[in-house]
Symmetry: C2
Subunit: 161 residues, 2 copies
Amino acid sequence: VLDSAYPQQVCSIARSLEVIGERWTLLILRDALLGIRRFDELVDSLGVTRTVLANRLNKLVAHDVLERNRYQQRPERFEYLPTDKALALYAVLAQLILWGDEYYPNPGGPPRLLQHRDCGGALGVEYRCRRCQSELEVADIEARPGPGASTRASRAADLRV
Amino acid sequence: VLDSAYPQQVCSIARSLEVIGERWTLLILRDALLGIRRFDELVDSLGVTRTVLANRLNKLVAHDVLERNRYQQRPERFEYLPTDKALALYAVLAQLILWGDEYYPNPGGPPRLLQHRDCGGALGVEYRCRRCQSELEVADIEARPGPGASTRASRAADLRV
């Protein structure tokens, strides 16, 4: 099912991008998480052609990121529900929102505010060490070659900042 | 400079993707953060054509995500250094690594391990409310329409999970 656009890449990011690296795909996921889940609603929201949308949705269903559900019999109509695998991408989309709002602010203000549902406080994202529990800065994180690293990756230094 | 692929989208994610939504672009950023920063090293690492690479690098420099630096005079050679704006994308790349390793595990094990530099513990990413300081689950976060929301966005419910 994977279309290996980067066959020589032994890389978790490259593997993720084979599934969700296409721009429409991430916008479809955004809409699915926002509750825009019916085919016709997605066409309206995205301004994408029906053919492109159908292709992207089929791929996401094949990868178990969305689940196809028939919500009407005659005529048949389908909606696309985010799976746990889609929810696990929430962090990626949240980070893209925060980055976009910081570096490409919308003139009218942020179109979406990520907030704590209970108290309305703004969302913050933190890095924390799972062993010693300290909060980490980017400079405290290293990306060491793991057991599945290619020779090339093992030669490269860790993520330098 | 922005090529507005999604002119009708008032969305922070869509704006971010106009800069970094292309798959090679994210892999270039990955390499730049890993310390692979010279043009010829990038060609080797990515297996991308020189023309495509040059285009992507020029765009990232124009957007102040990478800084072009001449490290040799004769012949002229350039490297591309991540700016603060690139470092702010570290969280996106880290999340893509964690997602890829969870759902598309490499048969030989993770190619990269994200670790706390000091103690070797695994990286965790947490959501925290900036007001009440509680740690948040995805279900605790809502994406409310902000001041710059389009009418359509204001109609949509918050991120439902």
